[in-house]
Amino acid sequence: MSALPSGMGRERAQTVTLAHGSGGRAMRKLIADVFLRAFDNPTLARLEDQALVGLAELAALGDRLAFTTDSFVVTPLFFPGGDIGHLAVNGTVNDLAMAGARPCFLSCSVVIEEGFAIDSLRRVAASMRDAARVAGVEIVTGDTKVVERGACDGLFVNTAGIGVVPLGVNPGSNRARSGDQVLVNGPLGDHGAAITVARNDLALQSDIVSDCRALNGLVAAMLAACPDIRCLRDATRGGVATVLNEIAESSRAGIRIREAAVPVREAVRGVCEILGFDPLYLPNEGTLVAVVPRDAAAAVLEAMRRHPAGQGAALIGEIVDEPRGTVILNTNFGGERIVDMLVGAQLPRIC
């Protein structure tokens, strides 16, 4: 462990205490043992108040910097298919990727509730390390705070990220035009359904795992097939329905979706049937919506299906002139309905 300052061995305490947030020796030890050990890179190992990154190497990648931040709170912290660490890295990587950017560097700030198990913290840091490695980004700066019991729910993680957008790449929610095609990269709602089952309020059992994954590799493959992708959105909170509504509103266009073409796993449909949820609104953590020109749709779809994160890709609908700002679903059953923004959270129905 070359990056570790000397004299910083393994943390022996079992749980995080307020001492670990005091700025003193205990905190340095915790940071070194948990985060430096996991993230292990020379930029971070300087242990200064900031990371320094060279401009020249960034400038060589494109003409604009993409910069984003996201905070992660999830119950439970560990769930089938991932944990808060995977979410924190992939969420920010994906926010950058949706600009067509190549993600480069992340920060990692944690707010820890006193009493949190240090082993769990290690697990989260290891997940962040693994996710960063897969996404090809470095975690180069961070911060640790400890708060009193009850002041946070175990662990909150914030990541910020910077990436570089290549010249000529310019996806935007306001760029959808009539005739453009709407694509998704795989089945909807896996993350939302996995979390719902993992909370165990209903004692449901399933083999659904979260779709939590980085999408920057997939986006690069899509841009190679069509540099002029009109819109790219990560369908996290509010699901695909919310993203489609945002695109329809920003582009002042209508969107028509075919229910028969929308991919949803059987098990996810099952959870939705029991709870009265609609998979279009379930959150995802590795599912994107792309709007592409009609003549490029086949090529982009093929590029997506060749990538591991896009094997289940599907063309689900198209941009239409009217009604503006509105998403309409042609139901399997032969009818049609509006797919509106959610008013609040999806709540289970009584009967």
Partner: protein, 383 residues
């Protein structure tokens, strides 16, 4: 998905729609005015909008979305009482999820929770009883609501609480009954309904006999229906077939679940635990005699209204609301003065905008023909 997709088969739907068109052609009245068929239950309303059934029907058949959404018809005063219970020191208020957003005059349960009340979403009254068992130092109040469908599980939970001598569990009882309400609607002078799609899950408990008064006294058909889209289409066809033949009877499309005799064990539990109230207040419809139940004296210890002081203030519906007229099919949701302007799902004024099973919220969110076919700029409708 096995046993679900069979009830959503588009080919069978097309056949049923064709049948409905044929029936409409045989009904003379359709040439004078559209037929109005009320689906009583909010579950049917949900199915109708979710699958876009309205857009598949001939214009001669109008669906009127009835009062069967227990969340929608809950009056503000009852929500206020529930919030007051939730805000009592040391109380855990257990509720079904879709009740937390219903606005009271001061706040909803969701707002009360944000202000510090301990409001927990449960999936069954037994979950609430478990909360009581697990938290012996706290009072657990279950916000019991729903029609005859949800009464038996509440009744059985109360019986179990009594058997286990759990003292810190009680109900805030808002269970309501459907029959007096259908009667109240039929007795309204302005109503022009031609038939009913009857509530399947209520009928699973009460059976089909209680609807007999509808054909006998009012000469209107009732067809008890299931909740899948093919169920609804088939039941509509059965209603129209009765009208075409000049018949009026109670028929049961939902035999696979709802027996004509109902469920004797469920009814026994309900009658053992609950008794009819003199009257109950409905949002949008006002006070209806014998339309609600409360716990019997023998179970008084589980009655939150008897155990704790609740304000019990009746709050009048906002004047601008025309929920009652929409509920009775006298006007369409979008014909209400405040639809989509002062009254939206984000800030509902009236009952029917509260839950997605309410006629107005369903129209607003899923799009009645008005929103889909009449774009704001007045151009041609979507094909």
């Amino acid at each position: 998905m096995k046993y679900v997709d069979e009830f959503r088969d588009p080919d069978k739907a097309r056949a049923l729609i064709a049948e409905i068109h044929k029936l409409v052609a045989r009904i003379d009245l359709c040439r004078v005015r559209p037929l109005q068929v009320m689906e009583v239950c909010g579950g049917h309303t949900h199915t109708i909008f979710r699958y876009g059934i309205q857009h598949m029907l001939p214009p001669e058949v109008e669906l009127v979305h009835g009062p069967g959404c227990p969340v929608c018809v809950l009056p503000m005063g009852r929500v206020d009482d529930c919030v007051a219970l939730a805000e009592r020191q040391g109380t855990i208020l257990a509720t079904f999820g879709d009740a937390v957003r219903v606005p009271g005059s001061r706040k909803s349960l969701l707002q009360a929770k944000a202000d510090g009340a301990d409001v927990r979403i449960v999936y069954s009254p037994l979950d609430a009883l478990r909360l009581a068992r697990d938290n012996p130092g706290r009072e657990v109040v279950f916000f019991a609501l729903g029609f005859e469908t949800t009464m038996p599980p509440t009744a059985l939970t109360v019986q179990r609480a009594q058997a286990e001598e759990i003292r810190n569990f009680s109900l805030f009882c808002n269970h309501i009954t459907i029959i007096p309400t259908i009667k109240a609607i039929l007795d309204s002078p302005e109503v022009g309904l031609d038939g009913f799609v009857g509530p399947g899950h209520v009928s699973m408990v009460i059976g089909s006999a209680p609807y007999q008064f509808v054909p006998e006294r009012y000469r209107k058909p009732v067809v008890i229906a299931g909740f899948e889209p093919l169920d609804v289409l088939q039941a509509l066809g059965m209603v129209l077939a009765q009208i075409a033949a000049g018949r009026a009877a109670v028929e049961n499309q939902y035999r696979r679940v709802a027996a004509d005799a109902g469920n004797a064990a469920a009814l026994a539990a309900v009658h053992e635990v609950f008794e009819l109230r003199e009257f109950f207040e409905w949002r949008g419809l006002g006070s209806i005699d014998h339309s609600g139940v409360r716990l019997r004296e023998a179970y008084a210890q589980f009655d939150a209204e008897r155990r704790f002081a609740v304000p019990n203030v009746s709050i009048a519906d906002p004047k601008a609301c025309q929920c009652g007229e929409v509920l009775k099919g006298v006007i369409k949701p979008w014909q209400c003065k405040v639809f989509g302007t002062a009254c939206t799902p984000e800030a509902p004024l009236g009952a029917l905008m509260v839950s997605s099973e309410g006629a107005c919220a369903a129209h607003y969110q899923f799009g009645g023909s008005v929103r889909i076919n009449a774009p704001a700029n007045g151009k041609a409708p979507v094909p």
